[in-house]
């Protein structure tokens, strides 16, 4: 909402200066967004200094000037003036400036083969005098330090721009703003003398509000003004309209706009001669259409509130009028409308038609239903003053009586909510100033809410009014208690924070990407999950909720590779979605690593990242978060975006149904489809919601400390075994032989090749054997040795390599 202080003062007697008014507005909840002059076309002319001038290479009379235009900028300007000399202070017009004398817009142009950025001005060009001999010579004394500043002072009045919250419909007019300021002690609300008006004749265009279901109009006031001469508005009115940043149109239209801003009372003027018999306010029928004043044709749905006549729709009530009955400069007789439309009806109609107008904005928030007469009289009087004519009696059709809201209020509530006291006397004064009718009965205030405050419906609203006017600075600052009754984070949240930092500590950069993604890329990672479409996406490549984080990670990996960054490690922790209902989401960590390890390294041999890098990072993180690696079960059942032969799934134990993590190389088809250019790309993901909560806290998990000081023996074995036989099983077979003696099994070599059949591999492992009870003698060791060999051979079909 924009207005000038002068306009405000038409409603407010105040001794406050502008800045005090601005501060007051913000303090009572009418936030001032800006307070500055509307831009002027003269703003562009700035003080400049010629820092160098030389002869134009192709023209004797022209000079080529380097001009300092402030803020560290210099431009080249071609100038024909004889006095364009080094160190001259003058006035510069940049490209785009409108030159007052010629009324032409300056463009960047080539003058005799040299480009000139803007122009240095003479007094005559700026219409300051007839002096056209040479450019303006500003006194260097006065203008040193002024370079870059505006040459002309902006004479436009300063305009206040306040943002009005949706509850404050009443402050969409100057009168309402003045009332609020007056209540807050900024002055006195001016009482206007009722405009003296001489009615002649009655309003003889019949108005009927149809008895439709959910009729959007509850009152329709009107009067006829006959025999007018519609003209341009007088200067005072034009200036007001201009100060709002709007364009004056004609006296009739400008007056209705003026009254709307002044009183928050939207009006509409019809050319009375274009109305086909009477006015009917009714619900629209599906398919009806009309051309609105924005020159667009609208086809209506059912049950929109329309103003119509016998020939059809004239306009949408409270939203926009139609061209058929619009006023023009030659309009002789007008019908002025001042009506009340229901916010709900306005809102639903404008939403369907996607229509935004000043009237709609106001009616939607709630117009004072008792302002119909005031608006008609104020506008009719003004139109008569400017355009002449005679005003008919007012005609008010109503189908619903307005009742003010009544509220019982006690100051106890105020103190309980705000924490401080306010006296009865002050309370009464504030409420009276805001327009309430106040009756006090012992401790209870019986309040009648003013008709212009549809937002006030219950006692808490009264608390807000009083504290708002008293000032929020009256509220004390209570020191917070440092008592904690509940743990800050629950188990899942701790897991989140721990794993986030655990993965990052392995060299991955955390990123945050949108929760939505491109359906085309998402398909590659979706598996059998539902696709969750966004009905109104921000763009067609962000049109589904992500089923996996990888679609985004890979997209940004590619962007970074395109920036010539190599060897990238990225991860994100966040939601992925399995359905469109609340809760159909889970928390996942997805990570990727691309390129080489030890690229261009003088001491280490460079190699591609591989599946066992991914496995190391994911396993280490799982161990760090508290899982027991000994219980892990790993298989190669992975989604199809993984490389089928170089990837795995980790289960918390062998009876888990769902994996807690996946790792591996990404499927080469995906790299190819997304055109990702890197030597190697590995990924892993951890499903946080699949990690089971420990039954005990850490303090109870620590087992008794047991160690053995008896002789420890290492025995090495090499087994030749089927290529497909998993090492995990081999280790398990050996570990289970005697859990008390076999402390560790370590794989130290894997061999496939010449000396071994093609479908076999050789696995070399070292077994640590140690007893808790005694030193093992040679015979004991020999026994366990033989047991390992025979058990492995019988259970796995392996052969010990001799």
């Amino acid at each position: 909402m924009k207005f000038t202080i002068d306009w405000l003062k038409e409603h407010l007697d105040t001794k406050l200066n502008d800045q005090m008014i601005i501060d007051k507005l913000t303090n009572i909840g009418l936030e001032v967004e800006s307070f500055e002059s509307q831009q002027s076309e003269f703003d562009q002319f700035i003080v400049a200094k010629i820092i160098n001038a030389e002869k134009h290479p192709n023209a004797d009379r022209l000079s080529l000037c380097d001009v300092d235009i402030g803020q560290g900028k210099t431009v080249k300007v071609v100038c024909g003036a004889p006095n364009a000399k080094k160190n001259l202070y003058t006035v510069y017009a940049p490209p785009g400036a409108l030159i007052p004398k010629s009324q032409t817009k300056l463009a960047i142009s080539k003058i005799r083969g040299v480009t000139s950025y803007g122009m240095l001005c003479s007094e005559s060009e700026l219409k300051l005098s007839n002096e056209s001999e040479g450019i303006i010579d500003l006194s260097s004394k006065k203008y040193t330090g002024e370079v870059g500043k505006k040459y002309f002072a902006n004479k436009n009045p300063k305009v206040v721009d306040i943002s009005i919250t949706p509850n404050r419909a009443d402050c969409l007019g100057l009168k309402g703003i003045a009332r609020d300021l007056a209540a807050a002690g900024a002055g006195k609300l001016k009482k206007k003398n009722e405009d003296k008006i001489k009615f002649s004749g009655s309003q003889n265009i019949k108005v009927k509000i149809a008895n439709d279901k959910n009729q959007g109009c509850t009152a329709f006031g009107s009067c006829l003004i006959k025999g007018i001469k519609n003209t341009d508005s007088p200067k005072w009115l034009r200036d007001k309209i201009l100060s709002l940043g709007q364009k004056p149109i004609s006296a009739v239209v400008d007056v209705t706009n003026y009254v709307m801003i002044d009183l928050n009372r939207p009006l509409h003027a019809y050319d009375a001669d274009k109305i086909d018999q009477g006015i009917i306010v009714r619900n629209s029928k599906k398919g009806e259409s009309f051309e609105a004043l924005d020159n667009k044709k609208y086809t209506l749905e059912e049950n929109m509130c329309v103003i119509s006549d016998k020939s059809g729709v004239l306009g949408l009530g409270g939203i926009i009028g139609g061209t058929r009955s619009g006023t023009e400069k030659d309009t002789k007789n007008i019908l002025l409308e001042s009506a009340y439309f229901e916010p709900k009806s306005i809102r639903s109609t404008s939403k369907i038609l996607n229509l935004e107008t000043d009237a709609k904005y106001r009616f939607e928030r709630g117009i004072d239903p008792n302002s119909i007469n005031e608006g008609l009289i104020k506008a009719a009087t003004l139109i008569q003053k400017i355009c002449g004519g005679s005003i008919s009696k007012l005609d008010i059709s109503k189908n619903k009586k307005f009742n003010n809201t009544l509220i019982k209020f006690s100051l106890g509530l105020f103190q309980s909510i705000t924490g401080f006291k306010v006296s009865d006397k002050e309370t009464v004064k504030i409420l009276l100033d805001l327009g309430f009718v106040v009756k006090k009965n012992k401790k209870i205030f019986n309040l009648t809410v003013p008709s212009w405050r549809p937002d006030i419906t219950q006692p808490i609203d009264i608390v807000e009014e009083i504290v708002r006017i008293k000032g929020y600075d009256q509220i004390r600052t209570e020191t917070p208690d440092k008592i904690r009754n509940k743990q800050t984070l629950n188990y899942q949240q701790k897991l989140f924070h721990f794993l986030q930092r655990s993965v990052a500590s392995k060299g991955y950069y955390e990123t945050v990407t949108w929760s939505f993604t491109d359906a085309k890329i998402n398909k590659m990672f979706k598996e059998d999950k539902n696709e969750v479409r966004i009905v109104n996406p921000i763009s067609s490549d962000l049109n589904v909720l992500r089923s996996s984080i990888f679609s985004n990670l890979l997209f940004y990996l590619k962007k970074n590779l395109d920036r010539d960054i190599t060897d990238i490690s990225l991860f994100e922790i966040g939601p992925v979605f399995t359905g469109k209902k609340p809760g159909q989401q889970e928390i996942v960590i997805s990570a990727l690593r691309s390129g080489m390890v030890s690229r261009l390294n003088w001491i280490e041999k460079e190699r591609k990242v591989d599946v066992f890098d991914a496995k190391r990072d994911v396993i280490q993180s799982l161990i760090e978060v508290g899982l027991d690696q000994k219980k892990f079960h790993i298989n190669s059942k992975v989604p199809n975006y993984y490389h089928p032969g170089k990837s795995g799934a980790i289960y918390q134990n062998s009876s888990s149904e769902k994996p807690v993590a996946l790792f591996g190389e990404i499927h080469p088809n995906i790299i190819q489809k997304l055109d990702i250019k890197t030597e190697a790309l590995i990924i892993f993901e951890i499903f946080l919601d699949k990690i089971g909560q420990f039954k005990n806290k850490l303090k109870d998990q620590k087992k008794k400390y047991q160690y053995s000081d008896f002789q420890k023996s290492e025995r090495d074995f090499a087994f030749i075994i089927d290529k497909n036989f998993k090492v995990q099983e081999l280790v398990k077979i050996i570990s289970e032989i005697d859990e008390k003696l076999i402390r560790n099994v370590k794989i130290f070599d894997l061999y496939e090749g010449e000396t071994i059949p093609g479908d076999k591999k050789s696995v070399a492992l070292s077994v640590t054997i140690q007893s808790l009870e005694k030193s093992l003698n040679d015979q004991d060791l020999e026994n366990i040795n033989n047991l390992i060999i025979s058990t492995v051979e019988s259970k796995s079909g392996a052969k010990i390599r001799s």
């Binding site: 913000t26 303090n27 909840g29 919250t165 949706p166 509850n167 916010p343 809102r347 639903s348 928030r365 909510i417 705000t418 924490g419 401080f420 808490i460 609203d461 608390v463 807000e464 504290v467 708002r468 929020y472 600075d473 509220i475 600052t477 209570e478 020191t479 917070p480 208690d481 904690r484 009754n485 743990q487 800050t488 949240q493 986030q500 993965v503 990052a504 060299g507 991955y508 950069y509 955390e510 990123t511 945050v512 929760s515 939505f516 969750v532 479409r533 966004i534 109104n536 921000i538 909720l545 962007k559 920036r563 490690s569 990225l570 469109k580 209902k581 609340p582 390294n601 003088w602 280490e604």
Partner: protein, 355 residues
Amino acid sequence: MSDIIKIKKEYLSKLNNDLDLNSINQIKSELFGKSGKITNEFKKIGSISANERKKFAYDLNLAKDELQNIIENKLKDNEIKEINLKLQNEQVDVTLPERSFNRGRIHPVSQVIDEISSIFSEIGFSVAEGPDVENEYNNFTALNTPDNHPARDMHDTFYLDDKKEFLLRTHTSPVQIRTMQGGKPPFKIIAPGRTYRSDSDQTHAPMFHQVEGLHIDKNINMGHLKGCLNYFIKEFFEVDKIQMRFRPSHFPFTEPSAEVDIGYKLKNGKIIIGEGDKWLEILGCGMVHPNVLKNVKVDPLKYQGYAFGMGIDRLAMLKYGINDLRAFFETDYRWLNHFGFDPLDVPSNYRGLSR
């Protein structure tokens, strides 16, 4: 002169020379080898008469110890000499780079969420969360924002179905609803998380982060709200003094409502929080509207309290001098490296919020 003294004298003088390792070992075996001179002397002990034997043995041991000592010392000296000699050839250029290591990064949004959680933890808040996908009721209606309310227009909502029943939450406030529906007062929670609005330009991202606060108990008033926020802002920006301004505003789910500005000044183009004559809006808050309490079956005559919501990304920008919101979500590796945090930098109360 006895043999012992003779041997001793002879070898002491031999050992007095500068000897190399071989010569020392040669001497060692001449004396202590299987048929070394000292060894042989020891063999004689048995054949010596009883009354002389004691003295003989004493002298012999003395001589043995002395010679042995000298030989051992000579050997050690020699080893050290050899090590020193070797060291001259064992020099590396330590200014060559170390073996490679990878240092990860925590995103500023995550870091700031941890900072916020740490601060509110100190004054008794716990962390609550809710789903990103919400139903229309929790996101709007329960929060006293019925369908025909113009405040709905202020949220450009992403919808997941044509009936507009399911949507991406436009704020973290539905977590208030879920928390209160699922429990009994008192409530004291913060709820950080992702929020979404279909708005995208230089200063708006379609996804951003908010943190919600809710404190409901029997006697919680606006003074507590002010105190809580004042504490938070001071702790978060790690300054001693903070200028804060509460301005009346409007949110459907709070009444009275306020927006909070903090004072700042510009110094060399950088925002300095805490002093100065300029105001920066950083959050919205208010007393939870009785209609909201009724909607979640909390008796507004018995319980009341405050709620607040603020933009996490914006807090991060202000604190760490980041001036482009969009960059938060663009995964530019260089940006992540520059503005990211070391994973070991866990904000905590005892160690301090940040380094």
